[in-house]
Symmetry: C2
Subunit: 218 residues, 2 copies
């Protein structure tokens, strides 16, 4: 690679960051707290959002941006829960970018939203590098994925404000060492709490809801 | 995007394809069958390879290229099984490229290998687009990820020669509809067999081993 190519990469990154900063200003102007949810495919992002919407009920006005390579199956589920939602299809792209979120914001009733979730594309690598305008970053790691994932995907765990261990209801059937997972995460990122939960049984949901309520108040 | 930018993208792709074609020629020259294994993080690629190495034993000389963003935990496990292995760390990259495999081939005893597995980076999106020089592409989808994934990650399922449904031992504890998953895969890719298995219990391993033996003979 020649030296002349490097500034091009820098311009691409800063274009995303500029739009992300606009999104952040716009969201904060509406008093909205924005949480970017990231994980591997099938770790339970949508199931967690549905359980969170049910648990918070009227206590907090929620909006959701759904990111997927294709389809709107997740947005359909969120819409059925009675919450404003926009589906972004990246058409092959492996993560959301700030310009996609900017377009989604145009389609949401921002004046009716206090807490906006952005469900990123299912991918434990690429979403970590892209600012969207969010206030907080949350990674989900499901019990069936195994406790060794911070070794192999360190940038995601370094990057986030909170790590949720999902699907704890299947802990008895899986070889997952929660203490070892916590140790690996805190080796990369000492400040991120690690909260285990099961959206299916409700176990551990209180700690997540308390974290959210504190985030909305801040 | 202007017209002048499009040829640049084409050149990048064809550089990878050119190296992939070299890899393929080199591997076939050694009589090696190469299988590219892809899935989400934690779907069980390494566990399947370890079970396959144990099951085939002396019947087939296996080699492995391990792809990860960071660490060599997977290569260490394969090396303990007594099989030649090379670890590629992409250093943030979300998929393997042909040039990485080319370097890995330089470090493997090709004359001692009949069946080479390339374990791609854990990612259900990006690896689908990159030829490495392999003969076959296999996708793993683990039961805990859910049967709806072909809707959201169609390019992976369109691309592969075989789909393995892994971790079937946890089917009783998960909401996974195997018939529906099969229907979705075959809607995208009618020619790919869908084989359910559990590397932990051994259930379904015979059909995978038969597929491999036929692939090596071809």
């Amino acid at each position: 690679m020649t030296r002349r190519q490097i500034p091009v990469v820098e311009r691409i990154l800063s274009a995303n960051d500029r739009i992300a900063a606009n999104n952040r200003e716009r969201l904060r102007g509406h008093g909205i707290t924005t949480v970017n949810i990231m994980s591997s495919p099938g770790a339970g992002k949508t199931t967690l959002l549905l359980a969170t919407i049910r648990a918070l009920g009227e206590a907090c006005k929620i909006g959701v941006i759904e990111g997927d390579v294709a389809s709107q199956v997740d947005a359909d589920k969120i819409a059925q829960a009675g919450v404003p939602v926009v589906q972004i299809n990246t058409g092959g792209g492996c993560h959301l970018e700030a310009s996609m979120v900017q377009q989604a914001l145009n389609a949401l009733p921002l004046e009716e939203i206090q807490l906006l979730f952005i469900e990123n594309v299912g991918n434990l690598i690429c979403p970590a590098g892209f600012d969207l305008g969010q206030d907080y970053n949350v990674a989900l790691l499901s019990v069936p994925e195994g406790h060794d994932k911070p070794y192999k995907y360190p940038s995601m765990f370094e990057f986030v404000d909170l790590v949720l261990v999902t699907k704890t209801d299947v802990l008895p059937y899986m070889d997952f060492d929660l203490a070892e997972f916590r140790r690996l995460v805190h080796g990369l990122n000492p400040r991120a709490p690690v909260l285990p939960l099961s959206a299916r049984t409700g176990e551990g949901m209180e700690a997540w809801l308390e974290w959210l309520e504190a985030a909305v108040r801040r």
